[in-house]
Point group: C2
Chain length 301, copies 2
C-alpha cells in the first residue's frame, strides 16, 4: 500500500464498487463466452447505469437471449437516476420496472451465470446458491480475505453484499487492472472486463453527470473506475497497476467526486491535461434556485 | 443554556430554520395587519412547504391581493419536494415556477412588507434595502447578536442569510415561544406566529413525510418546529419556554429526524404518548428496492 489516510482497515459495505469482482465468475466459468456476451453486455454486467435507452435496451436484449425477461430480475424497480431519463419515463406513461434499476445489468449477468451452471433462475441471489457462492469466493480472493470471515448483508438490489476494508478494495482494484499475478482464467476475465469498459464508458454509468463515464473517457480507458453508494469510489490505473479506494465517512456523495479527482491528481494517476478536463468535478460552483452563484465545494488538504 | 453537545458556538448558515425570525418585521411593522393577513397566509410566510395545492393556492391568492404575481417572486423555480406532488405536476404538463419553491410564502411575506413600507417590489431582497435591513435586525436581536458582526451569505432562494451559532438559534426559538421579555409589538408578533402554526401545521411543511407538520400536530401545537437545509432543526416548547437546536455536522438529513425526536424525548419536551406517535421518525427501518428490510437507523448515545 502506497498511502493510507483514515480508517483503511474498518470494514464497510462496498455496495456497487465491487461489481467487477461480482462479475468475475460470469467470465471465469465460461458463461459469458458460451452465451456469446458482447462487450456491451459485459459492460452492463459491471454497470450502475442511468437507465438510458442504451442501458435498458442492452439488458433487455440480453435477457431475451437467455430466454428470460424483466420478470426474472429480483433487483426491484428503481427510478432512473438521471433526471432527464426519469422525466421522459414519467411523460411516456411507461412504468418503472426492474429493468430501470441501476443494477439490472449485474442481475442479468447473474442470471446468465445461473443458466450456464444449470441452476434454477429463481435462486440466483441465494447467498449459498451456485451463483452467489462463486461470487463470494471471487470477492474474497481478490480482496485477500477469507470468504468465511466476511460479514454479509443485503444490498439495495437484494444481492448479497459484504463488508470490506478500504485496504482490501484498493488491493482488489489493483489486481483487476494489473492481473498478471492471477490464475490464467481470472487474468483473462479481468483483462476482458477492463477492455470492455474502456470501449464503452457510457454503458457503465451514463451520458450525463457520471464521473465513472468521464474518468474512463477522459483517460481513454486507462482508468477503471467504479462508484458505490454511501460515498465509495475505487479506481484502477492500467498504466501503473495502482489503485485508489475512497470512502467518504458520512456516506455523502457531495465530497466524493471532488476528493477522487483531487487524489487522482495528487498521485499522478491523471496528467495535467486530464486534470483540467476533470476540473469541474474537483471544484464545483454552487448555484441556487435562481441560478445565482452562492459558493463552491473544494477539497482542503 | 440547559445542555450543549458539540460545537454550539461555531456559526453556520441557519437556512430555513430562521424563517420565523425573518417574518417578525412583517408583523411588527403592522404590514400583516394592514394587509389583512389570514393565519393561513402567515403560516405560509413561515413555511418550507411541499407545494401542495393548499400551499401554492394560498401564496398565489396572497400575491394577487398585493396586486403582485409569481413574476414578482425572486426565489427561483424549484420542483416540489414531495414526490407525489412532483409527479402530479409533471403529469399535468404545468410548468414548475417560483410559486412551487418551498420559500415562496416567505418571499410573498417579504413582498407584503415591501408594499407596506412603500419600497420598490424589485428591491425586496436587497440586503441593505428597507425589508432586509429590518429582517437582519430582527434576526440579530432575537439571537442576542450584533447585526454588524453577522456574516452574510445568499440562501438557496436568493434571500440574504446569516451565519449563527447553535446557541443563538436555540436562544431565538426560546424567545419565540416564551416572548414575555420582549417589546410588546415583538411579543405580539411571536404569539401570533406560534398560534398560526399551531392552527395550520400542514401549511408550514406538508401532508406527507414532514416532521415539522407532525411535531406540531402530535403535540397539538405545543411545539413550534422548523427544519433548515444542511441538517438543521430548531424546536420551541411553549409549555416550558425551552428550545432545542440541532445541526448535523455533515449536513445530511438522514440522522436529523431521528436525533431531533430522540432529544425531544430525552429532554421531556414530548411525553411518552407523543414519543410513541413519533417513533417511526426516531427509529427507521431501511428497505431496499424490492421492499425487503436491510437494516435500520437508530440514535446511539
Amino acid at each position: 500500500m502506497i498511502e493510507a489516510m483514515g480508517c483503511v482497515d474498518h470494514p464497510f459495505f462496498a455496495r456497487s464498487s465491487i461489481k467487477a469482482l461480482q462479475a468475475i465468475p460470469l467470465l471465469e466459468e465460461g458463461a459469458a463466452d458460451a452465451l456469446g456476451f458482447t462487450d456491451e453486455e459485459l459492460s452492463l454486467a459491471l454497470a450502475s447505469h442511468n437507465a438510458e435507452a442504451c442501458h435498458t435496451n442492452t439488458v433487455s436484449a440480453l435477457l431475451a437471449r437467455l430466454d428470460l425477461s424483466v420478470a426474472d430480475l429480483q433487483c426491484g424497480a428503481q427510478e432512473p437516476g438521471d433526471r432527464e431519463v426519469r422525466m421522459a419515463l414519467v411523460n411516456s406513461g411507461e412504468e418503472t420496472t426492474a429493468l430501470h434499476n441501476n443494477c439490472s445489468g449485474k442481475h442479468a449477468g447473474f442470471l446468465a451465470l445461473s443458466k450456464h451452471l444449470d441452476a434454477p433462475a429463481s435462486d440466483y441471489l441465494d447467498p449459498d446458491g451456485a451463483v452467489q457462492s462463486l461470487v463470494r469466493a471471487a470477492i474474497s480472493d481478490m480482496c485477500g480475505m477469507d470468504a468465511g470471515s466476511l460479514t454479509r448483508g443485503m444490498d439495495g438490489c437484494s444481492a448479497p453484499t459484504y463488508r470490506l476494508p478500504l485496504r482490501a478494495l484498493g488491493l482488489a482494484f489493483a489486481r483487476v487492472v494489473e492481473p498478471s499475478g492471477l490464475e490464467p482464467k481470472r487474468r483473462a476475465a479481468c483483462e476482458q472486463m477492463v477492455a470492455a469498459v474502456a470501449a464503452h464508458p457510457i454503458l457503465i454509468a451514463g451520458s450525463r453527470g457520471r464521473l465513472c463515464t468521464e474518468l474512463s473517457r477522459v483517460t481513454k480507458g486507462r482508468l477503471f473506475p467504479k462508484i458505490g453508494a454511501e460515498g465509495i469510489y475505487a479506481v484502477g490505473d492500467r498504466a501503473s497497476g495502482r489503485a485508489l479506494a475512497v470512502k467518504i465517512d458520512d456516506g455523502g456523495r457531495r465530497a466524493l467526486h471532488a476528493v477522487v479527482v483531487e487524489l487522482l491528481s495528487r498521485h499522478e494517476m491523471i496528467d495535467e491535461a486530464e486534470a483540467r478536463a476533470l476540473e469541474s468535478w474537483r471544484q464545483t460552483e454552487l448555484t441556487n434556485h435562481a441560478g445565482l452563484s452562492v459558493g463552491r465545494t473544494e477539497v482542503v488538504a
